[in-house]
Symmetry: C2
Subunit: 228 residues, 2 copies
């Protein structure tokens, strides 16, 4: 009964449970209530929920930690972090405004885009890095000379630490990204493989000027993603 | 003349200049003087210098910063960091002992291995990560939808920041790794490509249990390289 008077409900389950959670909620909700979620993939969620509930706004607050639980709660976790909203043509602007009000009060940086654009963008900067990083760890473990493997483990430092971090992280999250953003991730992986092939070819052909050019362009490009 | 009384000389030039520097030094050195270098690839250096100077010990102190110059000098930079020595069969033990004495005084963690083992180990944990990370940036830049590219740049955060760091770093260093550790790096890249292919296949075939297994194994493996 208390749900009848509720203006906004956040669905904060794993992506796989969003649909069934909404279905269980619906009988208890007033039609004016706005639903939103916090899933890190948007197209499958919006496709599943928008037909069930008119006042649904897909959302992705991009802040969080490796740890979970109330012990690691943090004040201002969302401040100055992206909060992506993915309304579609049928989403009522008033519903979007209600979610935005909360995001503004958290001091998040608000972005609007289509669910598809969201999924394609996070595929590049979040999901592909996990696959790349995890494959790096797997490749290192493939060293068959046990002396060399032991030495590699002893000598690994900040470069390896950073590059391997997201690939050695949360197992379920990695599977979830692949499962729900499969098509975009495969597209990103395909492009990525071409670039690994290209860099390999440059090294094989000992084309050092072209390799230097490559590193110069990735050096400048990185600043557009993560300005220091 | 002052060099005649010198016990130990550190060659701290780029790898490409080590040989000519040693050739210029030789006429001024006493035969008892020990030479060592700090190059980050060892086989080509040891192969070039060992025949020229009996008392040569290949070395690689693995500490440093992105910045250079006296302004960023740091006390205890080498403390608790690896210092790899790569003596070969013909290296006099007394020469190794003299370099070790310095490394011990810096509180470095000293490792001994063959030049080849060194190059193979650093190929995995230092040189391959640079290629992987740089290719990640290049792949992201290949996004042809300018709205999505802009969104990706806006949404990139700590995961992308860490995974792209070494690939957006020093351009000359990247070329140097590829140039002087070419054979080992190509071997590492070849293994890496197989792992990227495998992860792509798992996602294509929607084999989620195997993908979870893969992430579990890279999660545990990482701790053997960089214990937290």
């Amino acid at each position: 009964a208390i749900l009848k008077a509720t203006e906004l409900v956040f669905i904060c389950t794993p992506i796989a449970a969003i649909r069934s959670t909404v279905e269980q909620l619906i009988p208890h909700l007033d039609p004016a209530t706005v639903l939103t979620d916090v899933g890190s993939v948007k197209a499958p969620v919006v496709e599943a929920i928008a037909p069930l509930w008119a006042n649904f706004v897909g959302g992705h607050p991009m802040a969080g930690k490796a740890e979970s639980g109330i012990e690691v709660a943090q004040l201002n976790l969302f401040a100055h972090k992206p909060y992506v909203l993915t309304p579609i043509a049928t989403t009522p602007p008033a519903a979007v405004e209600i979610v935005e009000k909360i995001a503004r009060s958290l001091e998040s940086n608000i972005y609007h885009c289509s669910p598809h654009e969201h999924d394609r963008a996070v595929s590049w900067i979040s999901h592909l890095p996990v696959m790349v990083s995890s494959s790096l760890i797997a490749a290192c473990m493939s060293e068959t000379n046990s002396e060399v493997l032991k030495l590699a483990q002893q000598l690994a430092s900040s470069g390896f630490r950073d590059t391997s971090r997201v690939g050695g992280g949360n197992t379920e999250l990695g599977v979830m990204m692949a499962r729900y953003n499969r098509q975009e991730l495969l597209r990103s992986l395909q492009q990525y493989r071409l670039h690994i092939e290209e860099i390999t070819n440059l090294i094989e052909r000992e084309n050092w000027p072209a390799l230097e050019q490559h590193f110069q362009s990735t050096h400048s490009a990185r600043a557009k993603f993560v300005p220091d």
